[in-house]
Every structure is written in structure tokens, then in C-alpha cells.
Symmetry: C2
């Protein structure tokens, strides 16, 4: 017979009862070492592994944890950023002996997602909502399993959830410090779209830190998070403040676009103007010159959120309901 061996087969081969076999395999201390050894030997010989479905049924737990991410394609806003927390969370969940189940929030058909999360397929969820999907975390509040969020509670409904997020304002402060340390005092910022909350916080942190140092944060030129928008915004900035010597862009793409405007205007970077980007993407590494950029701890966010989900599941979660993880600065040649 080639059917998968069950506990009964192992017990028989070892000459013990199912119960003893089960206990031996579970590593319970109340088993005679000699018997335990026989059971282990039998299990190895037969290639026994416990049947996950049977265990799940018996325990009332699926043995799986969902990782929920927005489905936006790789070109989308958060595409490049979700990969790191997904991997980190996957690793933590798998290492904890659970199955990491990846679920995409397609926007449409959120119901289906919620139903899946409520149907016993998974025991807990890590939800990665870096920037989008205000509505998603509203619906998630109804899900009957523990949920750990990466990102920010975007609705009051979800305000009592568990969150792990990057310190956006702190990132802005680090950008300010980087420019101030380089002796820049004629500053300016290239902002993202107004509706993008984290971007606003970055600017707020930047401004706060500047003021603490007694330096004017300078004008704030808004724009989309796109390369051309960065170029245009920087052109506008050069009109508004021709003597600028330090720029903080809340996105690498914008910073990279600004580099072009600066080059076109004959400003040398960093000699005449220093510039700091945000997100430390591949664009920062490949622009000319490569950009100093503020990096969000995406791995760490994923790791922490997954640990949090597991702790919530085990009932051992403690500490604040909202963890804020600091950003870091990757220094390259633009400052």
C-alpha cells in the first residue's frame, strides 16, 4: 500500500497505542524514553508526518495566517514597497509552523476577502496597508480573527486595532538633520499630493526639526509622485527661491526629477544644492548623482506585524497597540 502512513501505522510498528505514539511525537515528557525512541524510529521508518487537516479539525485551528496586500500592480504606488514586508511576514509565519496565505485585496469584491478571513481558512491576519484602501480596514474591523496592521489606522472604526508603522515624521526630521549637518540653511521641500497623509507627516517632521534648529524650513512646492512632476516642481522652486541650497523631496521619484531641473539650471549637486529623497528605492541608487534617501524599515514592519499577529492568536500580545519603528538615512552622493 502506498497511502500515507497514519499515527495508527506508527503505533502498530512501534508496538504501542495510538495515544502513546501521539504523545511521543508531540514530545510530551510523560512517555517512557524507550517507547518514545521506538515511536520515533517507527515514524522515521514509515516517513510519517502528521496530517494537517486532521490536526486542524481536531484543534479547531487552521494552522494558517493570512497576509493581506493591495493588489495594485508592480507599477502602482505601493507595489515596490509591499514586497519587503510580505517576505518578512512570510518568513516569521512559516518559522512559527503556520502556513502563510497570501490574499490580494483587489478593491472590488472586498466581501469575498472578508468572507475568506471569516470562514476558518486562517487563524489570524497580517494586513499590509501602506498607503491605500481606507475602506479595507473598515471592513476588517468585523473579521472574527486577530488582525495586525502594517501601516496606519485610517478610519476611526479601526482605531482600536493593532498597528505597526514607520515613523514618517521622524523620517522628515532625519532628512532635516542630514541637510542641517551639511551646513544647509536655505531650505525647501518638494511635497507629494496633499491627500497623502504620510507625505504630510514627513514634511511636518522636517519643518519641526528645522524650527528646533532655528532654521526656516522654506517653501513647500507640491506635486505628484512622479519624475516629471519633480522636474517641474524643482523648476518652480528655483523661481521661488533661487538661492536654495538644501532640498527635501518626500519621494525618490520627485527627487530624481528635481536632479534634472537642477542640472539644467547649472546647479551642481551636492556642491550648490544638496537633496534628500525618500524611500531609498532603486531610483535613488541609479540617479545621477545617487540620492541620499530616507529608508523605511519595511522588513522590520513585516516582521513585527507577523509576530504581533501570532501573539494575538496566542493571547500573549502585549505592549502598545501602536508600534512606531524609526526610519534610517542611506547616505549617497547628493548631500
Amino acid at each position: 500500500m502506498s497511502r500515507r502512513p497514519t499515527l495508527v501505522d506508527v503505533a502498530r510498528l512501534a508496538g504501542v497505542s495510538r495515544a502513546t505514539a501521539a504523545r511521543a511525537i508531540a514530545g510530551q515528557p510523560t512517555v517512557d524514553p524507550a517507547l518514545a525512541a521506538r515511536v520515533e524510529e517507527a515514524a522515521r521508518e514509515l516517513g510519517y508526518t502528521t496530517n494537517p487537516a486532521a490536526r486542524a479539525l481536531r484543534r479547531g485551528r487552521a494552522g494558517a495566517v493570512a497576509i493581506v496586500v493591495p493588489a495594485s500592480d508592480a507599477q502602482g504606488q505601493s507595489g515596490p514597497f509591499t514586497a519587503a514586508p510580505i517576505r518578512a511576514a512570510t518568513r516569521v509565519i512559516f518559522d512559527a509552523g503556520q502556513q502563510p496565505v497570501l490574499l490580494l485585496d483587489e478593491g472590488r469584491d472586498t466581501d469575498r476577502l472578508v468572507r475568506h478571513l471569516s470562514a476558518g481558512h486562517v487563524d489570524a491576519a497580517v494586513v499590509i496597508l501602506l498607503y491605500e484602501s481606507v475602506e479595507l480596514d473598515q471592513v476588517l474591523a468585523d473579521v472574527p480573527i486577530p488582525v495586525a496592521h502594517v501601516g496606519r489606522p485610517s478610519s476611526e472604526r479601526s482605531a482600536d486595532g493593532w498597528f505597526v508603522e514607520a515613523d514618517q515624521a521622524g523620517g522628515g526630521r532625519q532628512a532635516a538633520e542630514t541637510l542641517l549637518d551639511a551646513g544647509r540653511h536655505r531650505l525647501a521641500t518638494l511635497a507629494g499630493p496633499d491627500h497623502f497623509g504620510p507625505g504630510r507627516e514627513r514634511l511636518q517632521g522636517f519643518a519641526d526639526r528645522c524650527r528646533e534648529a532655528g532654521v526656516d524650513p522654506g517653501p513647500r512646492v507640491p506635486g505628484e509622485y512622479e519624475l516629471e512632476a519633480g522636474t517641474r516642481a524643482a523648476e518652480e522652486l528655483l523661481r521661488q527661491r533661487p538661492d536654495v541650497d538644501g532640498i527635501f523631496a518626500t519621494s525618490d521619484l520627485v527627487a530624481a526629477g528635481a536632479l534634472r531641473a537642477l542640472a539644467a539650471a547649472g546647479r551642481r549637486v551636492p556642491d550648490d544644492v544638496a537633496i534628500v529623497g525618500f524611500d531609498d528605492t532603486v531610483v535613488a541608487a541609479t540617479s545621477d548623482p545617487p540620492l541620499t534617501s530616507v529608508r523605511q524599515p519595511f522588513d522590520e514592519l513585516g516582521t513585527r506585524a507577523a509576530r504581533l499577529a501570532l501573539a494575538l492568536l496566542a493571547g500573549t500580545a502585549e505592549g502598545p497597540r501602536r508600534q512606531v519603528v524609526p526610519t534610517t538615512v542611506t547616505v549617497r552622493e547628493s548631500t
Copy 2:
């Protein structure tokens, strides 16, 4: 009571036996429509959903399909590329009513991965091996579930597996056509590392297409897939063939690096020299000028591989064991 309702609860409320309830919910035609309606109503009222663990135990299937990816971080070679097939495969698997389980191949501890795949946690697997892990697909040959690969059989052992891959040589041909169509005849290529098989195929396709057109494919300057390497390679190329008017780089990063060397040498792109990159990454979109680039159908690969895995599971797989999907050219301003 607040425990999840079971089929028994539904049956009782509907006034039928479990068996009938089960049949009604499974949509079997051998049920009196009136009863079926009552069952459906009862199920809705109670908020019944079938218990996946019980179903899995009974059916002998986990109801889950693995997606196996290399764990290399976002900086790694394949990091940016695996995201698309992962998403596509996830979508297909979820839409088929199965759980997409994400598994990372960390390199170390491949055994653990194989054990997981063999233990009944999942019924089939999609393995995304765009470039790496020669050993992984060797080990996977022993896994007792159907496996569909994205990428290439890299060992003879796995040569009888099922594969979906991008047409690398075809991509090289498209690059050649793009340059030839632009009237370029003094060509050259910037190659990747010799050990990288797909890169060699791209060049082969390029050379084949050139020769078909009666044009010399020109010198081939090797280098790593990095920006600076691209700059150096292009400098070397300009020495070897100063009259070059069309360049194919087998990586966007190399192409972007080459743009710098060309600019430094006073060559205008595309007026003096046209250049085609490969992979259509964000670097292609943000370089100056933006690069025309060959795009691999990563979504399509993921979609097809997931469908293939499901078909293998259902026993309905047909067609060739190796599917080759064409690349496309994204035209920007470098040609």
C-alpha cells in the same frame, strides 16, 4: 451559543437530514428544489460556511496551492521580477477557491521546504525560479505533488517537469528588430555575466535576427548587471567601435549605465546612438532619456503556471510540457 454553526445546525433549522443539507449546499441536482431552498435559507440565516479543515480531512486534499519563490531580498537579482508572477498566481489560485500559500526558498534548509510540500499542507505548487536555485528544482523533483515551474528546467533531473518561460531569444530578436527598424546597422551588444543563461539566449536571438537581416551583430562587451558596469562597458565599446549607432544591453541597469558613458562622450541618444534595454524596469522609465526596453510577460507567466498547477491537480493538464511566452517591446525615447 456563539460557536460556528455546522451543517447539523443548518439541517436542523431546515428540517432535513445532514446528508440532504450537504447535498443542497454542494448544489447537487438530486435534491428537491423546495428543500434545497429551505436549506439555503437556513444556511444564510445562520451564517453557515463549510469548515475547511473538515472538508480537507474528508476529501484528502488541503485545498491549498503553494507558491514557492526565492527569498532573495528586494535588492537581489530577481526581487523586482518575482512580484508580478506571485501576484498573478495568487489571483488565479484564490479565484479557483484554493488558498495560495507563499513559501520562501531561503537557500539554506531546502529540506524543510520539501518536507512542507510533501506533508499534505498543499495539493500542488507553483515554483518561481526565474534565474536562480539550480539545486531547488532538483530537490523538487521528489515532491509528491504536481509542480508547475516559472522559468527553466535547470537540471536534467527536472527536465520532465512542467514549465512556463519567457522567450528570451525572442526578446533578443525583438531588440534587434527595433534597432534595425530604426535604420541602425553599426551594432553592438552589452552582455551580462557569462554564467547567466537567459542573458546568453537574448544575445543569441539578437545575433540570429541581425544575421537574417544581413547585418553584423557587432562586438559583444561583457559585464555585470550593474549601472557602473554598464558605464564602463559602454566606454570600452566606444573604443572598440567608435562608429556604433545601435546598442542592445541585456539589462536595463547596464543600458542606463551606458547612457552616462554616451552622454559623457557627447553622443546624443537616440540621434547618434539608439539603445535598447531589457526587463522594462523602473530604471528604464526614469533614465534620461527613458529607455526602450524588452519586457518579459511576468504576469502571464504567473497566470499560466498557476493554471497549469491547477490543471495538473485536476488531472486535466494538456499541451506541451514547456510553454514559451513571447516578450514585448516598450518603446520610449532611446530608439
